[in-house]
Symmetry: C2
Subunit: 333 residues, 2 copies
DNA sequence: AGTTTTTTTGGCAGCGCTACCATTTTATGG
DNA sequence: CCATAAAATGGTAGCGCTGCCAAAAAAACT
């Protein structure tokens, strides 16, 4: 048991007692809110220091109106996308004394529902979600809750309140148009669970539609019902090429998958891009330092987090903000 | 403003009123604690459903003794290591109705200090940190706080309370011994900020000591004072080889850096491992699907998170648990 | 010195819940 | 049928703060 647990913590009342002032005075000094004299502040701070007082935010939040908690309910932590969003939001929130709380859904809408319910019990100032696809009950709860909602990383749909992101449909289309422009005609797709990662699903369907509209339907595809990974990308490309060897380009559901595909080509001596072109999504930093820069779409993930946080601390009115994306031509397609 | 904010939320008292029972009865039913009849439960649940009641955990936590918050104060979210740890801990904590809260230090001890202080204000059941290196005041606060402390990902030092991880010194030594055993004699190092990432620092110094003890001192090194990244790994190797072209092996501070080095070799046609061997640290999944499997050390990151969480929910006595690591021979060294 | 204004301060009622205790109701047993 | 145990229920005092209001002290004017 090592440390001294079970002792009751120092309270504001004890600090007030020790400093010889009233409780509300201590509260005012600590929050630097309202007025108090310099010597009072010194006496309070001395007592705080001496007793090692740490304010209890649970009590503080209960007593005051609105909390300063922001609840993130995200699909995954392994996916760098969400880590980037959190990182972007972190700084702004911290600056404004907000506290981030999070839970991971594993791309499961039912889990999202349960986690949102659980999060709302903390009476957060805002709930930050990925995308627009939620269960009916999730939407109902969020509407009923007295808090802001930010749907991040997508703008193709109807927002509950605030939304910050970019168009996955447009990204899918841009990817297809790029490959067509470059002259590829036998195009395949390697992806991960589209039912769950609905943003990847939107890119995929938009990609296919664009190809079809240009008279070049998708030649073949290999889709795993699992989370994306470098490993799945490599395996996927292997299976795809075994079935359809004459492909001249492959669109991957994201850069991780594409990296797997790239490794596969290296291992088998498939020359990129002359023999096979590779295109990803996300624009991870590592794409830039690959022997051949990865052709992909860079998404403003950190900026999404930053802006989402900013909208919350500024209590901005409901709106949808499209941050766009950037197509990186690279050397693999 | 879109949604219906500013309405006051339904309270337990209102549910009690609506169900025609006492407040404590509602509380008991909702927490499934204490005794109540079946028909009372039904009436309560009906009222809860009808009013859309969501319990207020802020109030609940304040009223009850210990909280069910677990505070993670981690160096980075971009580094997959910490995402893995969080993922491991997440499931267990959720199962036991604990809520994870987190903050990111950017490997800065001063920021860690500030964030720990801020976290303690939430009166968490436990604070989860990376490693043993903390400021004096951080340690003092944690000792004074009435909560458990878990130091993760390291076991080389003295634990405050609980510790779960593996020995970075042993990992550094094992890496050096492996390279020596394979016959490499001109060994270099490419790393990132060792002052801040003290675990990487421990691996490095232990690596060097082992080399020296075997009469093969480190030939050269290239250290960035920044966070690790694939990009830095590639640049680092470039600089290192420009200065010391006759190296036969390079030890990287982690797999991301090593991947950068690998890319560099591919780009320049440096044959691995005959011309240059590469060794990493972490054992990321992608290392397995590289054209040549990366030689590295696999660390039990998810397991660390799982066990850390389990110790907390079980209220285990103070102890240090070494989960060990696994050296993966791979094909790059 | 007496007013008026401004600044500083303390008291205390909640915030919404849980924990404890007292009370009522129901079941058990001789 | 009454005594006794067990189960179910309600009342209420806090948990540690904040926010409001009134009171006291200090400053600024006549």
């Amino acid at each position: 048991m090592g440390t001294s647990r079970n002792q009751t913590a120092v309270t504001l009342a004890q600090v007030a007692e020790a400093a010889g002032v009233g409780e509300s005075t201590v509260s005012r000094v600590l929050r630097n809110h309202g007025s108090f004299s310099g010597k009072t502040r010194d006496r309070v701070m001395t007592a705080v220091e001496r007793l090692g007082y740490v304010p209890n935010r649970i009590a503080g939040t209960l007593a005051s109106t609105g909390s300063r908690l922001v609840a993130f309910v995200i699909p995954s932590l392994s996916n760098i996308v969400f880590a980037d969003v959190l990182r972007g939001a972190g700084a702004t929130l911290e600056e404004h004394q907000y506290q981030a709380v999070f839970a991971v859904t594993d791309y499961d809408p039912a889990r999202e529902e349960a986690l949102v319910a659980s999060m709302l019990a903390w009476r957060p100032a805002a709930v930050m979600l990925a995308g627009y696809e939620h269960t009916e009950r999730t939407i109902k709860m969020l509407r009923a809750a007295n808090c802001r909602v930010v749907e991040m990383l997508d703008v193709d749909g109807t927002a509950l309140d605030l939304a910050v992101g970019f168009s996955n449909r447009a990204a899918g289309r841009a990817s297809a148009e790029f490959l067509l422009k470059r002259g590829y005609r036998r195009i395949g797709y390697v992806g991960h669970d589209l039912d769950r990662d609905t943003r990847a699903g939107k890119r995929y369907s938009s990609f296919c539609e664009t190809l079809s509209a240009n008279g070049v339907p998708l030649a073949d595809r290999e889709i795993y019902r699992e989370a994306s990974s470098v490993e799945r990308g490599r395996l996927g490309l292997d299976l795809l090429l075994a079935r359809t060897p004459d492909l001249d380009a492959v669109y991957f559901s994201n850069d991780d998958m594409a990296l797997g595909g790239y490794f596969h080509c290296l291992a088998l001596g498939i020359v990129i891009p002359s023999q096979l072109a590779i295109f990803g999504y996300n624009g991870l930093d590592l794409g830039r330092v690959m022997p051949q820069a990865l052709s992909t779409i860079r998404t403003p993930r950190v900026a999404t987090g930053q802006l989402a946080a900013k909208l919350i601390v500024d209590n901005a009115p409901s709106q949808v903000i499209d941050l766009g994306f950037e197509l990186i031509e690279g050397a693999t397609a």
